[in-house]
Amino acid sequence: MTAGPALDVADVTKTFGGRPPLRANDGISLTVAEGAVVGLLGHNGAGKSTLVNQVAGLLRPDSGSLRVVGHDAVAHPERARREISVQAQANVPITGLTPRTAIELVGRVRGGARRDVARRTTALIESLDLGQWASTPAHKVSGGVARLTAFAMTAVVPGRLVILDEPTNDVDPVRRRLLWTQIKALADDGAGVLLVTHNVREAEHAVDDLVVLDRGRVIAHGTVAELTHPLRSTLQLDVEVSPGRSLAWPSCATASSRDGLRARAAVPAGRAAEAVAWAQDAVDRGDLDRYSVTPASLEDVYVDLVGAASENHASETHASETHAAEAHVSAANPTTSTATTTSTTTSEGSVR
């Protein structure tokens, strides 16, 4: 049998019972190649963890296929589990153990030889700068150290697919950089990494491909460059207004947000010089404390995507409600029903 990519998800659907039933995954398809880091982005409730649980064999999809390194994860979850290592979203409590003991024990449970595991544990502890806490009882370590320990437990004997669910939560900025380096190292060593995160800004610099989920559907996928392409000709002008001064944007800037003294505007790339000149003048006059001009980030694209999807969902819901109400009326007037059905179909098409 030819081993496929580290992970191949095809048209996976999962619905949870309840009133009304919740469709957590709705026809999700994605691929994680070996040696690649794929970011799975989405807000709370987008269906990320449900997908991860299905890959790990903890949940069965209603339909679709999940293949881990060529193994059918639905029919043979135990084979798939041999190929994956998972860092859960919640910290695994390791009370009674020290970080070093926990990492070593998991490494050996995952099939590592005692010496190799001990060597790799020491290397990870040093790489993540955890030496100070390596032998401290777990109930005395901070949340960030516990999070890094959980990562090390996953990476000590990594599978060919590594799933990391919010690995940087609670981790301080310095160790975050160390953590990203280790995540990239996992991919460089040949593992496929599926990175579930909310931290779009950090993921932007670490991932090769991105998949954006919203309400269980894939609303965008591609490389960072592909996703940010639509906003490539636009720059972001961020300013911090001096207390007591008012802000008047120049003609080249289009205001996009305001949060207290901080404000943001979009500027066409061709008029960047004009915007910088205006901002520098404003700083010299004392109207602004500081400013920055940056290219549109992945976060801007993500917010646009999710925002647009939310608006479409709202309009779709509204259309469905209207349809339900008008269908009730249609018993007396069939023409109304036909018109409403057309409007609902159009709305669904725009979401996809």
């Binding site: 135990e78 589990r81 009370t95 009674g96 153990l97 449970v109």
Partner: protein, 159 residues
């Protein structure tokens, strides 16, 4: 390659270490429960003899096992599920039966001291009570009582 037996040993070690903070307390509670059952019921129900005393002595370890099996183990399991650690453990490449065997071993070890103590205290109490009570076979009842054995039984004579 780690075998299932090695994984069993490692998981048992993991679970024992994870419970190491709570284990001493659990063992003490089990011991107190066992001793309390044997001695406490004796105080409530008076001097029990023969079969009833035997039931009490053997019932204490049973109660210990019930408390562990139906109260403590499910509570720990539901806590592990709530924390998410049970779900994470299930992502490890370990056969499900190995998880079960490791958990059973840990809970058996928790139950063992209480169970042994209950049997020991039960035996001790039975011996003490049988020594402090006059032997029936040694009692010499008068001839009239032998004829009216019901009214002259040791229990009715003591009351």
């Amino acid at each position: 390659m780690t075998t299932a037996l090695q994984q069993y040993g490692l998981l048992t070690q993991w679970q024992l270490r994870r419970q190491s903070v709570l284990l001493p307390l659990l063992v003490v509670v089990q011991g107190a429960l066992a001793v309390g059952t044997v001695l406490g019921f004796g105080i409530l129900m008076g001097d029990l003899e023969g079969q009833a005393a035997l039931y009490l002595a053997t019932g204490a370890p049973t109660i210990t096992l019930i408390v562990i099996g139906l109260v403590m183990a499910p509570q720990m399991l539901s806590q592990a599920k709530t924390e998410g650690s049970a779900q994470w453990m299930m992502t490890l490449p370990v056969p499900r039966l190995v998880f079960l065997a490791a958990d059973l071993t840990v809970w058996t070890l928790v139950a063992l001291p209480g169970t042994v103590l209950a049997v020991f205290v039960g035996v001790l109490r039975r011996r003490c009570s049988s020594r402090s009570r006059p032997q029936r076979s040694a009692t010499r009842w008068p001839r009239c009582c032998r004829r009216r054995s019901r009214c002259c039984s040791p229990s009715s004579s003591s009351s």
